[in-house]
């Protein structure tokens, strides 16, 4: 999709640190997803008078990891501020967050993420990363904010450690937003910070301006697909205003995922409305160089480094390396298989085309894919030895993905092996010649017409015939019968 009018998009990504066992400021259990509403609560995460927050050390360490992975500058002190607003998702009427303004600083700033758009590298700058608490979850009785007469709140989520990652407005299309988010999610997954497949673990607000008009903020987008949809919708909406000679007004809109539209929200707050000030309950925490270095040592290999290594170690091109690496489980499977199979390019091709296609087609959760690296290696070895054809390998792939079928025994049991016995194949070709005399005539006059005969042989052998051998036998027979 291309947009002739210039589009500027900045994203605010909220990521829960789902790797934590407790909330950010209290020792209440963090895994709220299978719990009844309003059961994981304590005076601190409800903000009751007298309760004191105490920071989860692990949460700071994960935030530092993310900051490092996104090439950010890390603040020497961790300072929490109160951000005040009145909304039912927050009981104490302020959120403990961080402030990027006079006298205060977020945990990290000035980073960047490398992405590749249409084969070209591009940098998306990261403005800042905040460590903050998640508010409660609002549930709409009718399923939609638009039609509900009141809202229902579950405060189990309030106080969950949340990272707010804010980009500069460097993104120029909904598709670029998707590519960026896929990369970001891969980085977070490699770090083991968050499981973005969990409902609500990953939420996006998008700022978008079209043709240098006012910036519109879209809140409440819950998936990468919806980010693309909401941005596309908003671009069309703003464009049609501009084309009618109107001006886009600066406002906050809500993405309604059931009706797939954005609607204006009542929130019209300016920064001063939040009345930010340092939280007197939380003295600053020093982030020493030694601490950062110690955390860096524990960091795993990240996507960019792995892509580079795949190119060097396995001789893959950057595109293939990237497709593998951004699907961590697939890259892991590739590396396991590569220990026993050294045609790396062929291995990569089979994984990113047929294998990945079936995983997506069946919508299989990657953790539930039955195929092991051994299955893939066996399949490719049978193919290399000429015992099965490419077509057979393609047919076997879904069985491997879904059922974890052992290729070797399957081929033996079902006679699924390639027909490369010359005398047997010759008999089939002769049969085809008898059945289609006119096609044989055609093939004598026009060499291209041979394809019909090859197809007929394939049909008779259910695709088992070795194509090269079949063509050779047909040519020989055509000549000998002349």
């Amino acid at each position: 999709m291309s947009f002739e009018i210039p589009v500027k998009i900045g994203l605010e990504i909220h990521v829960q640190i789902t790797a934590l066992k407790t909330k950010l400021f209290c020792a209440t259990k963090a895994d709220y997803r299978s719990e009844e509403p309003n059961t994981l609560l304590c005076p601190t995460c409800l903000g009751l008078p007298g309760a004191l927050p105490k920071v989860n050390k692990k949460a700071i360490e994960y935030a530092i990891m993310v900051a490092k992975a996104l090439n950010c500058r890390i603040a020497p002190k961790l300072i929490f501020c109160r951000k005040h607003y009145f909304y039912p998702d927050m009981v104490k009427n302020y959120q403990i967050s961080q402030y990027d303004g006079p006298g205060s600083t977020p945990i990290a700033s000035n980073g960047f993420v490398r992405i590749i758009v249409d084969g070209k590298p591009k940098i998306v700058r990261i403005r800042r990363i905040n460590l903050e608490e998640d508010p409660g979850r609002i549930h709409y009785p009718t399923g939609s904010l638009l039609t509900s007469k009141y809202s229902l709140v579950d405060y189990n989520r309030s106080g969950i450690a949340l990272l707010e990652i804010v980009t500069e407005p460097d993104i120029e299309s909904p598709r670029e937003a998707r590519i960026f988010l896929e990369k970001l999610i891969a980085i977070l997954e490699y770090l083991g910070v968050t499981d973005t497949r969990l409902e609500g673990a990953f939420r996006v607000d998008a700022n978008i301006s079209v043709a240098d008009q006012a910036r519109v903020e879209i809140k409440n987008i819950g998936s990468i697909k919806d980010v693309e949809r909401a941005l596309t919708y908003e671009i069309l909406r703003q464009k049609s205003i501009i084309q009618k000679g109107g001006t886009v007004s600066r406002e906050t809109r809500h993405w309604d995922s059931s009706s797939k539209v954005t609607v204006p929200l009542r929130i019209k707050e300016f920064e001063e409305d939040y009345r930010y000030f340092p939280d007197p309950d939380l003295p600053p925490i020093t982030i020493s160089k030694e601490w950062i270095e110690e955390i860096e040592k524990r960091m795993p290999e990240l996507p960019d480094a792995r892509i580079e290594r795949f190119v060097k170690q396995y001789g893959l091109d950057e595109y293939r390396a990237q497709v593998l690496v951004l699907n961590k489980w697939l890259a892991d499977l590739f590396e396991e298989a590569a220990k026993e199979y050294n045609n790396y390019k062929s291995l990569a091709d089979w994984l990113i085309t047929d294998f990945l296609r079936w995983v997506k087609e069946f919508n299989v959760d990657p953790s539930r894919v039955k195929a092991t690296p051994k299955h893939i290696v066996k399949l490719l070895k049978l193919l290399d030895e000429g015992l099965i054809s490419v077509r057979m390998a393609k047919e076997l792939m879904p069985k491997i993905v879904l059922e974890g079928v052992d290729v070797e025994s399957f081929v033996k049991q079902h006679g699924f092996s390639k027909l490369s016995d010359e005398s047997e194949l010759r008999r089939v070709v002769e049969e085809v010649f008898r059945e289609y005399p006119r096609a044989v005539e055609d093939a004598r006059r026009n060499p291209k017409a041979i394809n019909f005969l090859v197809g007929a042989v394939m049909k008779k052998t259910k695709g088992r015939a070795d194509p090269q051998l079949t063509i050779r036998i047909i040519r020989e027979l055509l000549q000998s019968q002349q």
Binding site: N38, I138, L152, L265, P280, P283
Partner: protein, 97 residues
């Protein structure tokens, strides 16, 4: 900003409305506060001072990521003042017609 406007501005920020007599009283108090804070303008070379985030010069404590059983004991009490529906807390609508 004019000091009269400042009062209306503060009313909006804190979401309250003052009566005329309250406005008068608060105006006087605000004036005193602002005049007192003016003394800060006399400090030179502010860059030489570390900003103060907390009145006590102490390092913020942290805790390990371990759930506490004490928390569980308090759970049943914390929702006593809420209007509940199916376990959820009932709250007003958040969008205008």
């Amino acid at each position: 900003m004019q000091r009269e406007d400042l009062i209306s501005y503060l009313e909006r920020l804190v979401l309250v409305r003052f009566t005329e007599s309250e406005r008068k009283r608060i105006m006087e108090e605000i004036n005193k506060i602002l005049d007192f804070f003016k003394s800060l303008d006399e400090i030179k070379e502010l860059d030489n001072y570390e900003p103060l985030f907390h009145v006590h010069d102490i390092e913020g404590p942290t805790r390990e990521d371990e759930p506490s059983h004490e928390v569980e004991l308090q759970r049943s009490d914390v929702m006593l003042n809420a209007v509940l529906e199916k376990g959820y807390v009932k709250a007003p609508r958040t969008i205008e017609e």
